[in-house]
Symmetry: C2
Subunit: 197 residues, 2 copies
DNA sequence: TGTACATCAGTGAACGCGCGTTCACTGATGTAC
DNA sequence: TGTACATCAGTGAACGCGCGTTCACTGATGTAC
């Protein structure tokens, strides 16, 4: 072997991980491929030996980040997590202050909506999985209603974390996080709402 | 007068309006000044006669879009709007499908968090105003609690609209909007939650 | 065992292009005398 | 009334730069005979 077995796939993986971090930190449009490759210890020319286009990397990096967070979610669930600890695990200062290793939806959601169909379809598949996982944290009830509530909870925490990142007043930012937690609890555990007729 | 009175400020206003639309459609980072100026019927060189930098335009365009939506909100409130009609006025297919004339937060929130302090401070001021307006739609109660709920409602609708735009399945997108409306009603009208201790 | 060739991940320069920004200039209209 | 000059919004070319993408080449290691 010219390179040890798995060298090529390890290189590719490294590029995906760097991209997943940098896209979340700066947004997809603001990140250049030369910088990503340099961070991965390579030169720009090697990129197209691994990916067809920047859009293909966007799709892979997004899926990688979503898979990682899904694994974290499942792992913490195995430790007996409930809705409140999940909310607090998401809406906290550390997550707010480290978008590069955080939720890709909070960092990139509007941008995802402007990307290629394949990228949006990949996001859609992951979203469905996430909603299932969130629904599992809710008190037993009608499954359709649990899914609707879980979907709204996802929207709530994503929007709330974005708000906490956008405001310039640190104290207000903390209040936003806490308001999101309380609202998430009210939504998830509160008086059940009728499913849409 | 070489130009009719108000010509200069009218030109500036035209640039701001074009930018506010294009930023929301494509994201700030993906929009170039040459294109904005061309849409406003001008050439690139005229830009710096009106703005100090692209960042200054971003701040002005964001404020313009936020002011416009605030005015709409107040106008519809004068017509006797309640929480449900406000939620339906936001979480609907027309809004989802026309980001260029829609909520700047839904289109740009993660990006705002990466912009200059002045831009984030301007956003923060507008957010506070919005939260007050939303709180006014809630049943009378403790003001601090109404503010917290209103903040979460804002996060909920922003995140939900972004989700509806990002997914590639139109039917799922419609379900997301409806789930957001139901959750917004539950949050706003449902069992009151204690304020954080 | 030694030589010629194949493989292939990665290099680094180059492509055309658009970016944000600068600046000398235009030209229509005003004022000064 | 006529001429010289001031004003200023807008023009359009140019600046250096980084973008996504392409491609001829390198060099280390494998295989063939």
């Amino acid at each position: 072997m010219r390179y040890e077995k798995g060298h090529r796939s390890a290189t590719r993986q490294r590029i995906v991980e760097v991209a997943a971090r940098r896209f979340r930190e700066s947004g997809v449009a603001a990140v250049g491929l030369t910088g990503v490759m340099a961070d991965a210890g390579l030169t720009n020319g090697a990129f197209y030996g691994h990916f067809e286009s920047k859009e293909a990397l966007v799709c892979d990096a997004l899926c990688h980040a979503l898979d990682e967070r899904e694994a974290d979610f499942v792992a913490s669930g195995a430790a007996g997590a409930d809705l409140e600890s999940s909310l607090r695990g998401y809406l906290n200062a550390a997550h707010r202050d480290n978008p590069g290793i955080g939720c890709p939806s909070a960092a990139l959601l509007p941008e995802i909506g402007r990307h290629a169909d394949a990228t949006r379809a990949a996001f859609t598949r992951h979203l469905v999985t996430f909603v299932d996982l969130i629904a599992g944290l809710l008190p037993a009830g009608e499954p359709a209603q649990a899914h609707a509530t879980a979907t709204a909870l996802f929207g709530l925490v994503v929007g709330t974390l974005q708000l906490a990142r956008a405001v310039s007043d640190p104290q207000l930012s903390d209040q936003i996080l806490e308001a999101g937690i309380q609202a998430g609890l009210a939504l998830g555990l509160g008086a059940p709402v009728d499913a849409p007729s």
